[in-house]
């Protein structure tokens, strides 16, 4: 996945230009709004933030993380602190900013930061809602290198076109897992792939059964 290798490139560019990197995991949090589907992408995005801080700690690139949900603030700070400590730079302070819990108000703040700080890199990843195109557009205007992806399909098209490196759907979660270089990750992902094969098999068998006029598998799964 290209986006993983792009993080060092992004940090290098920012260090060279002497400008900060903007990171956001979007407006939604982990427990409140439509929690079921947004928790994992948000946490995955924060793990990407951790990796970014780890790479950025050595050249001392400042990373401005913004959020539209207050509950992301402490988790993001913890992740950044443990990442920079692991990289041997515990003196780096996390810069996580809560802007507003109202969607458009948060967007206006993000756009302001991107264009005023003239960020060198713009990382927009997670369960990104309608803020996607606003932030990508602002990033394009200041010529930032953009990496991103949304776990919500309805906002993914803009990333495909406007980001330099994009991730689609589940790739976000998988990337975040791979980033740490943890050997247990391969095992988890392999296990997940087996589940996917099973799901595909169930769907195909179920369809064939329905075609043959035996919908018992469908009835079974409905309950």
């Amino acid at each position: 996945m290209g986006a993983i290798s792009a993080l060092p490139e992004l940090v290098g560019r920012a260090a060279e230009m002497g400008r900060p990197i903007h990171f956001t995991s979007g407006r939604v949090g982990m427990t409140s709004f439509s929690a079921g589907t947004s928790a994992a992408p948000t946490i995955a995005a924060l793990l990407v933030l951790g990796e970014l801080s780890k790479i950025g700690a050595e050249p001392g690139v400042s990373i401005i993380a913004t959020t539209g949900e207050a509950e992301v603030l402490p988790v993001a700070e913890e992740i950044v602190i443990s990442a920079v400590t692991a990289a041997g730079h515990p003196e780096m302070k996390p810069d996580v900013r809560f802007l507003s819990n109202q969607l458009r108000s948060y967007i206006s703040g993000c756009m302001g930061i991107i264009s005023r700080e003239k960020v060198a890199g713009n990382v927009v990843i997670g369960m990104i809602g309608m803020e996607s195109l606003y932030l990508l557009d602002a990033g394009l205007d200041v010529g930032a290198m953009q990496i991103g992806g949304s776990a919500s399909d309805s906002n993914a098209p803009w990333f495909v076109c406007a980001a330099d490196y994009f991730l689609i759907g589940e790739e976000i979660i998988a990337t975040a897992a791979y980033l740490g270089g943890d050997p247990t990750v391969v095992g988890s992902v392999a296990g997940e792939d087996v589940v996917k094969i099973i799901i595909m098999a169930i769907m195909m068998v179920g369809s064939i059964l329905v075609t043959a006029g035996m919908p018992w598998l469908t009835e079974l799964l409905k309950n």
């Binding site: 439509s34 458009r104 394009l140 309805s154």
Partner: protein
């Protein structure tokens, strides 16, 4: 290098913005009125309203915020003016998830009042009631179906529901003929708790945002939803079906012009990209 500077001006995105505003503004000053052909699910929504007995009670969920007025408000006005012309009585409510929806119900009735519906006939308390926020999600919806007065005691102004002529005799789901869901996604659980268990006596029409359409088409195919409106286009189709042209029809003119504009831009952008690419032999980033 005059030609060069002209091209630079044309490729600046700021050059596009005024054109978009002009294209959207034109239909309001001089309407064009291309015919809007209704999708089958919109026609089904119209037929559903026509099929309920005249004067039935209708329950309406207006769970959307002012930001979506252009879409949801237009759909709400089209649907509600039709039900009112069939002399239906309306009971509005919203979920606790979308508090501004309470004001949206008032706004629909206010904007409809003097235009479509004969203002002399329709009175608050007799023809329509606004329950305000009904908190409690699924549990509250289920209880509301069985025992109306035990779940909600007062309307949004604090008047007792037992004193209002419309709600005085309502006991539960059996007294309603139709559900209108005019929401932006997270609907009040009327679909699960009212339509599915009581499918024989009550029908449902969903007015969703343009993006929510695919999910609901599956429900429409399955017969769970009787009729479906989607976004400003759905509203315009409904206005055409009821021959009651309003905001959405004008909006569709703007949609037509700006969509042509968008397609032209797509081709222009790609053409300039490919010309630059073949000239220089490598892709040029925007």
């Amino acid at each position: 290098m005059k030609e060069y500077s002209l091209r630079k001006l044309l490729s600046d995105k700021r050059f596009l913005y005024p054109w978009l505003v002009v294209l959207v503004a034109i239909p309001y000053i001089r309407p064009i009125g291309l015919p809007v052909v209704a999708y089958p699910w919109t026609k089904a929504a119209y037929d559903t309203v026509e099929s309920i007995p005249e004067g039935s009670n209708v329950i309406v969920d207006t769970g959307f915020s002012p930001g979506s007025w252009a879409e949801q408000g237009a759909q709400g006005m089209a649907l509600i003016s039709h039900t009112l012309r069939r002399n239906c009585k309306l009971v509005f409510l919203v979920d606790a998830q979308e508090p501004p929806g309470v004001m949206m119900a008032e706004r629909i009735m206010k904007e409809l009042g003097p235009t479509v519906v004969d203002p002399r006939g329709k009175k608050y308390g007799v023809d329509w009631v606004n329950l305000g926020i009904v908190a409690g999600g699924v549990a509250a919806a289920a209880q509301l179906a069985q025992d109306f007065h035990a779940t909600v005691k007062y309307d949004t102004y604090g008047t007792s529901l037992k004193e209002l002529p419309l709600t005085k005799n309502i006991r539960g789901v059996a007294d309603f003929a139709l559900i209108l869901l005019i929401t932006t996604g997270r609907a009040f659980p009327l679909l699960e708790q009212w339509r599915i268990p009581y499918a024989k006596t009550i029908k449902i029409i969903v007015a969703t945002m343009g993006m929510g359409l695919t999910t609901y088409i599956a429900n429409w195919n399955a017969g769970i939803v009787n009729g479906l409106l989607s976004g400003i286009r759905g509203a315009a189709e409904y206005e055409a079906l009821t021959k009651n042209y309003g905001e959405a029809t004008k909006g569709m003119d703007a949609v037509n012009l700006s969509h042509i504009f968008a397609v032209v831009l797509l081709f222009a952008g790609n053409a300039s990209f490919w010309i630059a690419r073949t000239r220089k032999g490598k892709p040029k980033e925007a």
